[in-house]
């Protein structure tokens, strides 16, 4: 989406287009042009025929091949959902220890804000006995398939920088997102759908906007493509008024024919890529509405997710995510911006969990039933957690980067464990801290990458998702 850099250091546009053409262009071109292109490819030293989105092998055999990231934007409260803190209840209404707050910066609350006890009851679930609050009865059913990470921490305490940090490993705008890095490293198995699909299902869009799924300095083909659950799933997918499928086909044939004639004259491989782009677009016009059509799902699946009219779009979107993965999409990210409970904590969390808990659990269950969970990664979490201290009266919490919880499910992970621990107040990580960089290193590891070697040369140096940081969290790996 931004100033991109495909030209840099041998990553030439012609190169990219030629590969794309050879790998995926099924159109009948003049044999001469084809020979030329093949010859050019051989000369460029590349033995393979592959487009930028063609399937590529990672550094080592991967545990998972695809990712669904459930981005709970706004900062869900770990203290109400995952991280049971009886001591916090005990000290409700008192001031936190002064040494805890030394150097602490909060977004809104005063330094003298008092502690606020958890609002919900916790219990142990599954054979693993994982602790979850009463807000998450559905997740409780599948908790033995879930790996809970309680020692998360991040650097940012405002939404936009925090989300950009979680999405791109940097608070500075302009770096590629996790989904973009994944597609850059692995390509995509979907020929007629984007490799990286993004939804927004909350009350608002994410604070970090488009940059959450941007490609930064990577080639733009790796950026996320926004899908919608209503109307055209992709912008400009439908033919304009009065253009029926036949007009569209006839037009594309004419465009194809004229472009091919020009290719014969000019010999520019970019023209072949253009022909291929138009064909793919035409295919997408059919495949995208098809994949988005939930009426093709049996009732019991709809029921499992809780898809019903008027219950919000999150449940249906989780189901769509599964359908997209089945069609070879590499990375699906659902932004659900709803978790910024400065006030109205109790009611909002009840409502949010009511909208999302069942679908999240169903997604894990559904993937497992289909045998997909073993090579799929589901990630749930927001950009930060919330303060043990109260904000505004007795029913709100402020942004808190020092400690929060995320969960994952899928191949390569130890299921049914909780990793890491916070202190008695849920303020700091007491054991097994997992920074955002560590999470990213771990996700890349599961995808088969050494995070220090998945690099892209830009502005005179090799960039990577984890910058100069990141440690694979081996403790949670199977």
């Amino acid at each position: 989406m931004n100033c991109q850099d495909r030209l840099h250091r041998g990553h030439d546009p012609l190169d990219v287009s030629r590969r794309w053409f050879l790998g995926q262009c099924g159109v009948g071109l003049g044999a001469m042009a084809f020979r030329e292109l093949l010859a050019a490819d051989a000369r460029a030293g590349s033995p393979t025929a592959s487009g930028p989105m063609a399937v590529k092998a990672p550094h080592f055999p991967p545990k998972v091949k695809r990712v669904i990231f459930l981005f709970m934007a706004g900062g869900p409260s770990h203290l109400e959902m995952f991280d049971s803190k009886p001591q916090l209840a005990k000290f409700d209404g008192t001031l936190p220890p002064a040494e805890l707050l030394k150097g602490y910066r909060a977004a809104f609350i005063n330094p003298d804000a008092k502690l606020l006890g958890p609002k919900f009851e916790f219990g142990r679930h599954g054979q693993s006995g994982t602790e979850l609050s009463e807000l998450l009865p559905h997740l409780a059913r599948v908790v033995d398939d879930v790996t809970v990470v309680k020692g998360m921490s991040t650097d940012a305490f405002n939404h936009a920088p925090g989300q950009i940090m979680m999405s791109t490993g940097s608070m500075i705008f302009g770096r590629p997102s996790l989904g973009a890095w994944t597609c850059y490293g692995l390509g995509s198995e979907a020929n007629d759908l984007p490799g990286f699909v993004v939804f927004s299902t909350g009350k608002k869009g994410p604070s970090g906007g488009n940059s959450n799924w941007g490609s930064g300095f990577l080639p733009t083909v790796y950026q996320g493509v926004q899908f919608r659950t209503g109307g055209d799933p992709v912008l400009y997918l439908s033919n304009p008024e009065g253009v029926d499928r036949q007009v569209q086909r006839d037009s594309l044939d004419a465009i194809h024919s004229l472009d091919a004639q020009r290719l014969e004259v000019m010999g520019d491989p970019e023209i072949a890529t253009r022909i291929n782009s138009y064909e793919t677009a035409f295919q997408m016009q059919m495949s995208a509405p098809d994949v988005m059509d939930l009426s093709r799902e049996p009732q019991h699946v709809l029921d499992m997710y809780g898809v019903e009219p008027g219950k919000g779009s999150f449940a249906g979107t989780c189901l769509l995510a599964r359908r997209l993965l089945e069609r070879g999409v590499r990375f699906v990210e659902i932004f659900h911006e709803a978790w910024d409970q400065h006030g109205n904590l109790t009611a909002d969390l009840k409502n949010n969990c009511g909208e999302t808990d069942q679908a999240c659990a169903a997604l894990v269950q559904d993937l497992k039933q289909r045998g997909m969970l073993e090579d799929t990664l589901v990630v749930w979490g927001g950009e930060f957690g919330r303060t043990p201290m109260v904000q505004g009266g007795s029913d709100g919490r402020d942004h808190h980067p020092n400690a929060f919880t995320m969960w994952m499910a899928g191949g390569g992970l130890k299921p049914g464990i909780s990793h890491g621990e916070t202190d008695d107040l849920g303020f700091s990580v007491a054991r097994d801290k997992v920074h955002v960089h560590d999470l990213n290193a771990t996700i890349l590891h599961l995808l088969g990458f050494d995070h220090t070697r998945l690099n892209y040369r830009f502005q005179g140096r090799d960039f990577r998702l984890t910058d100069v940081h990141g440690r694979v969290v081996n403790e949670i790996l199977a």
Partner: protein
């Protein structure tokens, strides 16, 4: 069918640029032979440091053995001759000039001992045998170092001898042909005239030529036809639009703030300044100076101040709870990055956290340059169009004339004014400033800062409906009245005193609470008897932007509205355009004095509920900078004399400047009852004052700069003084303390090694798709070795010698034979030079996003060529601007009429919601400086061109034009439509395809199989004809060639 290729393989193949790898292979082969006709340096050496050795050392060694001392291993430094030949930690020098065999560097590179091997295997960057050979040869030949080429000032190289001197129109051709000669290639023939005029038009003005323009060029058989065409295009006002857009990428121009709120901002004056600067060919050095320090030039014009908007194009974060200083520093980093990429052609970002690993820029250097830019306020000033400026002058003249008339008609005016001055000498009771806390206010998310003078400054998030509360830090003995002063501050819109887009505010209610100092929690509200203010505007309804969706009639008016306990009424301070952004004051007098034995602690509550419903938009009506004071005297009132007049009165009459004297008279006359008629005429004049617009600019304000540890604004280290990095041109010799202006002038000094090179390289990139070095943002030691290093230097020197004139540079390039070549890629050329870096053929490049859109509009006959003004909102899917697609609801007031079809340059740019069609074609969104765009080719582009509503508008319009103006036969019409899109005439084969399509569609529409009215938008008999031509037009607009410069 698709073979997998590991990422490592891909990464390896990318470690060198294609051209570089080719050159390397050739060089290695040459070295292996030990003979040949390769390039040798004047000293007869076969290997040259900058060309051959530095890229290897920089990529493989400098990370641990380069300039960054903190990362250095084994006390070995390889980037300077002195260090590399001195003993390292191991005791041996890495390099013994002339003795490769015994040089530790070669021993380590060639050893089989995995522990001793360099570079270490874990770094994953092994030396290839070719690279090792080059290092060996270089050391054997004496290991001569050269400074990095781009850090040495460019010198004009000699124009080389070539095989075909007749092909050389200007030295550019000699450099290009010289390289081709060496590669055994010949240039391509000149492109045909239709191609040339379309290429020139797209390159110079970003629009396709009209058929008439093509015909005129074809018919011009006098000598100099081409040059005349170039002149016409360079003189066109559209030239500035095309090339201005390229600079706006580097200037990260956008029409919104970015981050979560991403509020609209109104900075089109800067955009128009850029366009104008290109059109009048403002020399590039002045162009840079004005953008960095226009405000510091002697008596700067409005334009020169507007130019500083360049630095202000940074994003602004006003999400709730931000620390404004954090994001001010982020914006500073962004400015440094922009200056680095756009002006210096250097990536200096790394040095924000630590000394640069590859280039000799230190952490301190970075903050010394930072210090030049840091001493500023982030200001927003009122700006006016030339017509508005003229009107403003007329008004000021008119006022002066009426006042002069009053003085003439009333010879005793001076005496009367003196006695009036006597009567108002007493400024009222004495006031003590009350300093307050700021933290209690955090609940709203807006931040307040307590300034030295006791005033409070609001910043960060701006809630639109809130109450701000401030409690005194010290008790007072007794209090009878509270004064609320509203003050200006450069950080506020138009200097404030409020935070609304006009710098205004509204006070819905004012409350005071008092508590005994020994029982601070026992606060009780104080009854206010009456209030006075120095401005009491008549009751007026709120502007639509402040709609709170309550449907109540909400008003502003006199100060009484602030104590009437009504939520709908507020005290307003708007004195109309031209006079509204001045300090104000109000006094709230208590029913009875308040005192406690332990002292009185006051709490002030400012209820500000006259903003709009949407805090994600510019709807706040909040206080900006303000100050509380108290008085003990009973019956205190607001001094009716404005602050500026009070200040003038404090100066003895004979010592007053003309401005001060005018201020005094200007207020005095309003107090003379019999001058009412003249006063009214003056008021009427002021009512005609233009509203103007606001522009984000810089305003100088001293500020101490510290080095920031790891770039963290919370970790300031030692203070640093403004200064210049040592590796570039020498600092100015002037003794005076250097300023931002000095810095700007240093950047464009004749000896600045990278500035001119970066500029000409970017221009070259725009023409040929790739720069002479492809890494336009980084000419540092990690940059790609230029394909034509001498040409780059020649162009840089020529550019400076010709007065930094961009138009001259453009003329030079486009008039070269190199530029005029046909762009056909034969199999041989593709084989030899797949990426066209040698330029044995012309460039064939897909047009930039804006040009793609403009070509569609121009070919369809829809383009509105109006230049400048506020950005426009062409049709876009409404859902994009609403949650959950957008964070907050955004305004997208769809433009009406031809404004929908303005050039894409004028499309409103929200950073968080980029305009979809432009985003699909790789337009950057302005988050950071971009000096090199991607050029992708994707299915989403196909969908946009096929299906976007504007694309259909263009196709329909083109069809209408075809039927109206395209002749009477199908053949004529096809040629007409084709030429509107492509300038050239179609081949017979192409006509065949289009004709077949046309007939098939006509049949389908005639048979009723498809609905022609729906497609064509035309009803009745001609619908089928319109519809089938619309299909043909749509096909033409979607051709690869249509959106490509060929």
């Amino acid at each position: 069918m698709m073979r997998e290729r590991s990422v490592e393989e891909v990464a390896r193949s990318r470690s060198f640029p294609r051209a570089g790898r080719l050159a390397l292979a050739v060089l290695a082969a040459f070295l292996a032979d030990g003979a040949g006709a390769g390039e040798t340096s004047p000293s007869g050496k076969t290997v040259r440091f900058n060309r051959d050795v530095r890229p290897i050392l920089s990529d493989k060694c400098f990370q641990c053995h380069g300039p960054d001392a903190t990362q250095r291993k084994g006390k070995l430094r390889l980037d300077t001759a002195h260090d590399a030949t001195s003993p390292a930690a191991s005791g041996d020098p890495a390099i013994i000039p002339g003795d490769a065999e015994n040089s530790e560097l070669i021993l380590r590179a060639t050893t089989d001992d995995a522990d001793a091997k360099m570079p270490p295997a874990k770094v994953g960057k092994p030396l290839t045998p070719e690279e090792t050979k080059i290092l060996e040869t270089w050391i054997a030949e004496g290991a001569e170092y050269e400074g990095h080429w781009a850090f040495l000032p460019p010198e004009r190289p000699e124009t080389p001898q070539v095989s075909r001197p007749e092909w050389v129109r200007n030295p550019i051709d000699a450099f290009i042909l010289h390289r081709l000669d060496g590669e055994g290639l010949a240039p391509s023939p000149e492109a045909d005239r239709p191609t040339l005029i379309r290429r020139l038009s797209l390159d110079l003005i970003g629009l396709p030529p009209t058929i008439a323009e093509v015909d005129a060029f074809l018919a011009d058989d006098r000598p100099g036809a081409y040059e005349r065409l170039v002149d016409r295009l360079l003189d066109s006002p559209h030239y500035g639009e095309r090339w201005g857009r390229v600079w706006l990428d580097a200037a990260r121009y956008a029409d919104s703030d970015g981050y979560e709120k991403d509020k609209p901002r109104f900075v089109h004056f800067y955009r128009d300044w850029v366009v104008g600067a290109f059109n009048r060919d403002l020399p590039y050095d002045r162009f840079i100076v004005e953008q960095l320090a226009g405000d510091l030039l002697p008596s700067p014009t409005q334009d020169q101040v507007v130019a500083t908007g360049f630095l202000r194009n940074s994003m602004i974060n006003e999400e709730g709870g931000v620390d404004p200083e954090q994001f001010r520093v982020e914006a500073m980093f962004d400015r440094m990055d922009a200056v680095g990429k756009a002006v210096l052609g250097l990536t200096i970002q790394c040095a924000q956290c630590h000394t640069h690993k590859y280039d000799p820029i230190t952490h301190e250097d970075y903050y010394r340059m930072f210090a030049f830019l840091n001493s500023v306020d982030e200001a927003a000033v009122a700006v006016y169009t030339p017509e508005e400026l003229h009107r403003r002058e007329e008004i000021l003249k008119g006022v002066a004339a009426i006042e002069e008339g009053l003085r003439k008609e009333n010879p005793d005016w001076a005496d009367r004014m003196r006695s009036w001055e006597e009567s108002v000498r007493d400024p009222g009771p004495s006031w003590s400033v009350v300093r307050t806390d700021v933290d209690a206010n955090n609940g709203s998310g807006q931040k307040h800062t307590l300034l030295e003078d006791g005033s409070l400054l609001a910043s960060g998030y701006a809630p639109t409906l809130h109450t701000a509360q401030f409690t005194a830090l010290q008790p007072v003995a007794s209090v009878s009245a509270v004064r609320l002063e509203l003050l200006n501050d450069p950080s506020l819109p138009l200097s404030g005193p409020g935070r609304s887009t006009k710098g205004l505010l509204a006070l819905t209610e004012f409350h005071v609470e008092a508590a005994p100092a020994d029982k601070p929690n026992e606060r009780k509200e104080v009854a206010i008897a009456w209030a006075t203010a120095d401005v009491n505007p008549p009751e007026a309804e709120l502007e639509p932007i402040f709609d709170d969706k309550s449907k109540r009639r909400r008003v502003t008016g006199p100060i009484a509205f602030a104590i009437d306990r009504k939520d709908e009424t507020a005290w307003g301070i708007d004195a109309g355009p031209g006079r509204r952004n001045v300090p104000r004051k109000a006094v709230f007098t208590f029913d009875k004095p308040v005192s406690f034995p332990s002292g009185v602690v006051l709490t002030f509550k400012l209820t500000q509920r006259h903003g709009g419903w949407n805090s994600d938009d510019n709807q706040n009506n909040n206080f900006g900078r303000f100050r509380f004071s108290v008085a003990e005297a009973p019956d205190a009132q607001a001094d009716p004399i404005p602050v500026a007049v009070r200040e003038a009165l404090a100066v003895a009459p004979e010592a007053r400047t003309a401005v001060l004297a005018a201020a005094v008279f200007g207020h005095f006359r309003t107090t003379v009852p019999e001058w009412a008629e003249a006063n009214e005429r003056i008021e009427a004049l002021w009512k005609q004052h233009p509203e103007g617009a606001s522009q984000l600019v810089l305003r100088e304000r001293p500020r101490e700069t510290h080095r920031l540890e790891r770039g963290d604004f919370l970790k300031p280290a030692e203070p640093v003084q403004p200064g210049f990095p040592a590796f570039l041109n020498p600092p100015p010799t002037s003794e005076a303390a250097p300023t931002r202006l000095t810095f700007a002038e240093w950047l464009v000094d004749r000896k600045a090694p990278t500035t001119a090179r970066a500029a000409v390289n970017r221009v070259w990139q725009s023409y040929f798709g790739t720069g002479l070095t492809s890494t336009s943002e980084d000419l540092g030691s990690q940059c790609e070795t230029p394909s034509h290093p001498e040409l780059l230097d020649w162009l840089a020197v020529e550019f400076m010698d010709r007065g930094w004139s961009l138009k001259t540079l453009h003329r030079l390039i486009v008039e070269s034979n190199a530029y005029r070549q046909a762009s056909r890629a034969t199999p041989e050329l593709l084989a030899k030079d797949p990426f066209n870096r040698l330029l044995a053929r012309g460039a064939r490049v897909r047009a930039d996003a804006e040009v793609v859109r403009d070509v569609m509009l121009a070919a369809g006959g829809l383009l509105d060529p109006t230049i400048g003004g506020p950005s426009v909102n062409p049709p876009a899917p409404a859902f994009l601007f609403q949650p959950p697609s957008s964070y907050g609801p955004k305004a997208w007031p769809e433009s009406a009429g031809s404004a929908r079809y303005r050039r894409a340059l004028y499309t409103f740019r929200y950073r968080s919601i980029p305009y979809p069609m432009l985003q699909a074609f790789d337009a950057p969104n302005g988050d950071f400086a971009c000096v090199r765009r991607a050029r992708s080719n994707t299915p989403l582009q196909a969908l946009a061109l096929l299906n976007e509503p504007m694309a259909l508008d263009a196709a329909r319009s083109l069809a209408t034009l075809v039927l109206k103006e395209g002749g009477s036969t199908e053949a004529d019409r096809l040629v007409y439509a084709f030429r509107r899109c492509l300038a050239r005439k179609p081949t017979a084969q192409e006509v065949e395809v289009l004709s077949t399509l046309l007939r098939k569609q006509a049949e389908r529409f005639a048979s009723g199989e498809a609905d022609p009215a729906k497609l064509s938008g035309v009803a009745g008999e001609s619908a089928a004809e319109h519809a089938s031509w619309t299909v043909v037009a749509r096909v033409l607009l979607n051709l690869d060639e249509t959106i490509t410069k060929e």
